[in-house]
Amino acid sequence: MKTVIALFGLDSSMFNEAGLNFALTELLHVWILLLFVTTLALWFFWTSLKRIHSPFRKALLISLRTFTFFLFILIFLQPELEFRKSHTLKNRIAILVDDTMSMSIKTFPSEQPRIDFVRQAFEKNQGVLESLSNIFQLDYYLISDQIETVSSFGSARRYSSNKRNTDFEAVFSKLKTLYGSKSLQGVMLFSDGADLAINSDNISSGLNTLLAGWEVPIHSFQAGTNHMFKDLAIEEVDAADFGFIHQPVRLTVTIGASNMGNRNIPLVLKDGDAILLSHVLEIRERESRYSVELEFTPNLLGNHIYSLTVPLFAGESVEKNNRKDFQIKIIRDRIRILHLNGRPSWDSRFLREVLANHPKIDLLSFFILRTLDDDVVSPTSELSLIPFPTNLLFNDYLNSFDLVLFQNFSYKPFIDKGYLTNIKNFVENGGAFAMIGGELSFQEGGYAQTDIEEILPVDLGVEPQLFLDESFDLQLEKNQFRHPILQLEKESVANSIVWENMSELNGINMGLKPRKDADTLAWFIKGRDKYPVLVTGRVGKGRSLIVATDSLWNWNFRQVGEGGSGRYYNRFWNNIINWLIDEPGTRLLKLETHKERYEEGEEVLLRISVSHPNYNPYAEAKVLLTMKTRSGEMKITNLKTNENGEASHRFTPMEEGFYIIKAETETDKLKLKEKIEFSVFSETAEFQKPRVNETLLKRIAEVSGGNYEVLTKQTDFSKVSFKNPEIKIKTSSKLIPLWNNWWAYGLILSSLSLDWFIRRKSGLS
């Protein structure tokens, strides 16, 4: 070879290989053409020499022509001599080690964590790996749902199981991309197979397709076994992120049980400390997975951290998976209003129109269309009247309403006095009540000295009072101008103008005296006398309101006739409803977090705002913040609000779990409490499916053409074989064309000349 290289005047030390290259030889039509031309040429050579009788000359000519034809073909194929410098590459083997949290789970009876099986195997096979590394390039990776390159597992001792999620499909997909065209001859996978992304024990179709198309054998080594593995786990809680108050919330819970025997276990759902429901689940030896449907009905709005627990039994491998916290935001889907009208009137008609057309209101109306004194001059069968379902409304379903509205309604002939107590209890427990004026309301409705009077923000007195049929302009209480009920326009000046232009009212219930703790928002002022028209009050956890006139509809229809708009009437009633049902924006003490859930170690920001009962900001308000966690209740801090009535506080929760933050303050002798719930999540998903998934590891090996083995003290990596095809890589080369030089053309010319000469000598032209 060195001589040949030297023949071409090249340095022989620069090259270690030589080869001949042809152009165009890879094209099929070139070969077909050559075959055709060769056949044609041979036929021509033979037929053109028929007249030559000397066999020697004939043979000589055919040889000459064949030689010339060969030279033409050679020039056509453009031969090149290539001198190369190349060297051999090592094939690769990827070694993947699962470092997720599930690898810390112990295997029985040795009580050895799964991770230790891997460590042992690497230590024992250190020599095998070293010899393997002489032949192959070994690439080491730690895998979870990511792949992390590490130098080697000589450092296996510092390898720890702390990652939060196993996802083989993601891992192999990344690996496939990473290697691309590189020569990967095999993968050694060390794992427990506890892949969280796979719902059953078997391989997923995505992973199956990925591995089947990859053509790289994966040899899976199973770390740990399920032998004597005892565990009861809440594997999954499937619930919507939000639910509706007073509407059932459904949960689908998956429980996993290994070696738990036959027993009944209680499944307990709690909201904080309150048990919402308990369900008994029958665990049977032959079944390892259970699906349980649970349902509960939330009665409180806001973010709630629910915890689902199963008992912890002695000898369980994993403790953390016996409890699962999850968060559901309970919202109001519809505002449920019970609207009782003492008699049909314009006021009730326009209010019903607002309520019935409101997209978020579920309205149940009752109009008293006839009284016992009325003579309908008809049999009942010809009337559309229905019995008034008092027991259903005020006993069975009262708590399903958000607001009870009595409009010019006298209870006496229709409602038993005992039901008034139910209404009082309903309000004290967080419901809302409003009484709208008219000749059948307040004292004239017989409410004096009843339970209803106790929840009204006004005292009725004992003497019957007249309903004064007089027109008047409503006078707002200046001090209450920031009250949310009076906000008909966002901007203060615009709001004032709207109120100044409101139509006059006519008709007022007299003799009402606002309670000391009530807030009178508007008055009818006659001379030196003031009569409350719009009064709000707080009763226990609920709210109440009175409107001492039956002419608010003037702000709708009549307002339009006076060139105004009826929309403020609608807005006014929306404001009233929002305030009555305690919408968060109408609270005097507001407490919120900047996020609804936090990761462990993340900082929590609490924002607080305090208002006076008239909704003016409460500066310098002292707010006590306390926190309740699983560990108990503790004080966080005391805060003071700024001139805008606002304060904030940041802290970092010490542990994962649910947190209930309570804020307490006092404003104008009104004790205010507010609480907010949020959760701090620590990822424990790896313990939700803690079993070793040997089926998955076997299938991975099968599909990819690799082997499966359970790691033991005897595991020998040398039993695994890998193909090792030679891979050469060219670093430099020199091409010398053999066809475009004088030698080639001279030979052709000489051959043709000799052919011509012999033919002339033989008497041919």
């Binding site: 003492g342 049909p344 008293i368 006839r370 003579d375 010809e382 229905i386």
Partner: protein
């Protein structure tokens, strides 16, 4: 107005039969009356052709009805296609050119707002149905061609001022019931279509052969 006591008489019946409180004084107003919107219910009756409403009056009335008012038109003449009827239809066409006057169906709340009614009547039986205009789901105008006012009207001594043509006292009672129901509908709208009422109303309608 051919029957000036008709409305007062109807209000008396409403007072007697239902829980509605009425203001018995009848106020006659023009559409240009500045305090028009203090009266959400207008009763318009006649027996003769009337002058075309001015464009301003038509606009006022349209706004009045669109924003919550109600108009009951009663043809007090005794004929089919009376001149009053022709004038009314022209007026309504100008009032709501895009919304034609339609027959009010028998399942409309007007026929079940207080009494369960299966038959439309008045002093005469000119038309077996009421007609009306619906705006945004609310019937804002009802037109009766049967002289309802004639069946309602009484004199100062409380005697009926007009005889009923065809059906006698029963027909008068039905006309009064229809009047009561129209007023009840205006004050309660589709209240009787709330789900809580439906089972009982449908059962009664099924069981009883109603007038």
């Amino acid at each position: 107005m051919p029957h000036p006591t008709a409305i007062d008489s109807l209000l008396g019946q409403i007072e007697r039969r239902t829980s509605i409180e009425t203001n018995r004084g009848l106020t006659q107003i023009a559409l240009s009356y500045p305090k028009l919107y203090r009266y959400p219910f207008i009763y318009m009756a006649g027996s003769r052709e009337f002058e075309k409403f001015s464009a301003n009056d038509i606009k006022r009335l349209r706004n009045y009805l669109s924003y919550g008012g109600f108009l009951l038109i009663d043809d007090n003449s005794s004929g089919i296609n009376s001149k009053f009827d022709i004038s009314v239809r022209k007026m309504i066409e100008a009032l709501f050119p895009q919304v034609p006057l339609r027959k009010i169906s028998r399942d409309h709340s007007i026929f079940r707002s207080f009494y369960l009614i299966n038959r439309v009547s008045g002093r005469k039986q000119v038309s077996p149905y009421l007609e009306g205009i619906n705006i945004k789901g609310r019937t804002v105008l009802v037109y009766s061609a049967n002289d309802l006012g004639g069946a309602w009207a009484r004199d100062k001594l409380g005697q009926w001022t007009h005889d009923i043509v065809g059906g006698g006292n029963r027909q008068r009672q039905l006309a009064i019931r229809l009047g009561v129901n129209i007023v009840m509908y205006v004050l309660t709208l589709d209240y009787k279509k709330d789900m809580v009422h439906l089972p009982i109303i449908l059962e009664r309608l099924k069981r009883n052969k109603l007038p």
